[in-house]
């Protein structure tokens, strides 16, 4: 997006800068290049429009009354209405919609905090401390990445059920605070390994222990990796469906992805209008989150490149 928008700006500034004293041959050349660029621009816009069509359709369809689905598969509603939104905000089964949003945000924010805190600590240990069997532990951690979720779900369910933790958020969050997300630990380990050890040594000579080195030296330097982890952790937790489905029973504790399905019951009346409206609303926070943080993400990659 930003790249496309920057393009025309660059060409205009170039043109005005060299404008007054150009000769005809160079002008022709420039003209041709401009036309090629415009064609490319148009092609890209058309492609983007095609790719985004489902999203546009989703948005526009939120203004269709429920009975119009099926009868009018096109983009423009015949009888536009905002009833879907009014209905959706009321929520479901006496639980208002904001409650589902609040639950999702709570879980996602806690997951981000837990993941960053625990993964950074674990990663520091793996990258900098030579404790016994470090290689074995590291390999075991990477090994957990290969385990599909469905393999561990039943034993995990039994553990939490025996601990009487069903219908709380503990099963969803405790793992995040205990650095079980091997992907993030690995990501940060690799990042720390890229930081020169001399910095740690300098700190140690000044009398810093591991805690001090971690907080004052490593933590500020791995900010880009932390931001990347935060973004992915947020998005994955926000979209997680199976976890909350199993561990949360009370409708007033449901996060959005579970609540979303309640609007669409295949065995009786499905409210398609409400389904698309609430789906669209559920997309908004994650879209905002990504737009705000993607700048940091790009920065992060750039700084990482410099360090190399």
């Amino acid at each position: 997006m930003t790249a496309v928008m920057r393009e025309p700006l660059d060409t205009t500034s170039l043109r005005t800068a060299t404008g007054p004293n150009l000769n005809i041959e160079r002008g022709n050349h420039r003209l041709r290049r401009r036309i090629v660029r415009i064609i490319w621009g148009v092609v890209l816009v058309v492609l983007t429009a095609i790719i985004l069509y489902p999203l546009v359709w989703l948005f526009v369809s939120t203004f269709k009354p429920s009975s119009e689905f099926g009868q009018n598969p096109g983009l423009i509603p015949n009888n536009p209405t905002i009833d879907n939104y009014i209905k959706v905000v009321d929520g479901i089964a006496g639980v208002p919609l904001w409650r589902f949003f609040a639950n999702s945000i709570f879980i996602a924010v806690m997951a981000v905090i837990g993941t960053l805190f625990s993964s950074a600590l674990a990663a520091y240990a793996f990258a900098r401390i030579r404790f016994k069997f470090v290689g074995v532990f590291f390999a075991a951690m990477i090994g957990t990445l290969l385990l599909p979720f469905h393999v561990i779900i039943i034993p995990q369910y039994i553990i939490f059920q025996r601990l009487d933790l069903i219908d709380t958020y503990v099963p969803l969050l405790i793992g995040k605070f205990l650095a079980t997300e091997a992907f993030f630990v690995f990501l940060i380990v690799q990042f720390i390994r890229g930081i020169p050890r001399e910095m740690d040594e300098a700190a140690r000579i000044d009398g810093a222990g591991h805690a001090r080195t971690f907080v004052s030296i490593i933590l500020p330097l791995i900010k880009p990796a932390l931001i990347t982890s935060a973004i992915f952790s947020f998005i994955w937790t926000w979209n997680d469906f199976l976890g909350p489905l199993l561990y949360v029973n009370s409708p007033e504790k449901y996060p959005l992805p579970v609540a979303l399905r309640l609007y669409n019951d295949t065995t009786s009346t499905s409210d398609y209008g409400a389904t698309v409206a609430v789906s669209f609303l559920a997309l908004v926070p994650i879209l905002l989150f990504f737009i705000v943080f993607q700048r940091f993400l790009v920065d992060g990659v750039a700084t990482q490149g410099l360090k190399g």
Binding site: P65, S66, S67, E68, F69, G70, Q71, P73, I92, A93, G94, I129, F131, I153, I154, Y157, I158, I159, Q161, R162, L163, D164, I166, D167, G209, H210, A211, L242, L245, L246, N249, S250, P251, V258, R261, L262, Y263, N264, D265, T266, T267, S268, T269, S270, D271, Y272
Partner: protein, 435 residues
């Protein structure tokens, strides 16, 4: 020096923490395993978990009904949870494996055999006629919840296979509505004739895509889809014959498969493109909701009959109530099941949301709307065609039904011939049956 000491402190803390976790797990595991002493369910303070599937509307009804129950039995607290149908079963499957099923469940016929045979559902025998009043429920309906001689479920309500028609649309288009009954050939002829007069609307959908139509043909011949021991009650030739009956309308008056794909997930009938659809009679409210204005009423008539005078139709439980075999409070759970199945108050709350109430006492309390009364009258009108319920569906019946529907859709799209369809269906069915 410093680092080593720090490390051992952390290590010690970690060991203590994990030990605490393990011990905690054991301790509460022991508590969980102790069976509850039999006590008077109307006095003892208990908490029950109750799970159902449904939408917003049904959830509202259940909240009301459970409040009424808790008013009547102040010592019992019911926590309810609900999900959509597929998610409901996803959650139950894992709970079943982990031993954490809710005490009382709304249950589906197609899962009865699997859960009963695995011993996950409580034998309701000791409570029938005692805590669970059976005086308002016919033996036919009670027999629906019996698997291998043991009653594990009580039907809340019943459905029958029927044909919905759209008389308002027929009038708009200037054609006659299908009167119901007749032979399958009569119905084919009617579809072809009506569709021939219309442009952009059709008489009906290719009915050979639904396994239930095949089932009632088999029942008319005295068979069933599957026998009690889970073997198919038909061979390749019989299925081929069935799918060939659709040829006349597939390339003629039935709504084209491509058009159906375009409007999915709603059906041609939902979209006011067809005049008739064969389905369960509880689908009426869904149709009305999807049709919207001006289609405010529907017709509900008998499906065509394969052999005149056959007892091919049957009452299917639209849902059942079951109790988990692992419940700590079977008496209280039975009280809840009794209340949900028999209470006239529950009847007045739900109407026919869960289907036509199976219990006469509950039906008496139900305030039937226009459509509800139509369904009740329809189920009464087909009494001559109602036979015994078929055996409880085999494990995997849901997948077989879905395979049948998918192959039917492909027949409609013209991508396979009936011969290829039969071959594919038998291959896939054998895979499911041998699992």
């Amino acid at each position: 020096m410093f680092t080593t000491r720090k490390r051992s402190v952390f290590g010690g803390a970690a060991i203590i923490a994990s030990a605490a976790l393990v011990l905690g797990a054991c301790a509460s595991g022991d508590n969980g395993a102790t069976p509850g002493e039999p006590v008077d369910p109307t006095v003892e303070e208990v908490t029950l978990n109750f799970a159902f599937w449904g939408n917003d509307v049904r959830a509202g009804f259940y909240n009301e009904a459970l409040d009424a129950f808790m008013d009547e039995y102040p010592n019992i607290t019911v926590n309810s949870t609900f999900l959509g149908f597929p998610e409901f079963w996803e959650a139950r499957q894992i709970e079943a494996a982990g031993g954490g099923l809710p005490d009382v469940m709304q249950f589906d016929y197609s899962y009865m055999r699997q859960y009963s045979e695995n011993g996950l559902l409580l034998d309701l025998g000791p409570y029938l006629g005692d805590i669970i009043d059976t005086s308002g429920i016919s033996d036919e309906i009670l027999s629906i919840g019996v698997v291998g001689g043991v009653t594990t479920g009580i039907a809340t309500s019943t459905n029958a296979w029927g044909m919905y028609t759209n008389p308002i649309l027929a009038e708009q288009l200037g054609v006659e509505s299908y009167p119901g009954g007749g032979s399958w050939d009569d119905y084919n002829d009617w579809i072809n004739e009506v569709s021939g007069q219309l442009d952009g609307h059709w008489g009906g959908t290719d009915w050979t895509g639904r396994i239930q139509n095949f089932e009632i043909q088999l029942r008319a011949e005295g068979g069933n889809l599957f026998t009690e021991d889970g073997q198919p009650g038909f061979d390749e030739a019989r299925l081929l014959e069935f799918w060939q009956q659709g040829e006349a309308i597939r390339n003629g008056g039935a709504i084209p498969g491509q058009r159906l794909e375009e409007i999915a997930p709603v059906s041609g009938f939902d979209a006011a493109l067809t005049l008739t659809e064969l389905t369960w009679d509880n689908f009426g409210a869904g149709y009305l909701g999807n049709l919207g204005e001006p289609y405010t009423s529907l017709g509900l008539v008998e499906p065509p009959v394969h052999v005149e005078g056959a007892r091919d139709l049957y009452l299917k439980p639209s849902m059942l109530h079951t109790i988990s075999a692992g419940t700590d409070h079977p008496e209280a759970a039975a009280l809840l099941v009794n209340f949900l199945v028999n209470s006239p108050e529950v009847g007045s709350i739900f109407g026919t949301n869960r289907g036509l109430p199976a219990s006469q006492t509950q039906l008496a309390g139900a305030n039937l709307g226009e459509l509800d009364a139509q369904i009740r009258d329809y189920e009464a009108s087909i009494a001559d065609r109602l036979g015994d319920a078929p055996p409880v569906p085999i494990v995997g019946y849901g997948s077989i039904e879905e395979t049948f529907r998918q192959i039917g859709a492909e027949l409609g799209l013209g991508t396979i011939t009936p011969e290829q369809a039969v071959e594919r269906f038998f291959t896939e069915m054998n895979v499911i049956l041998n699992n």
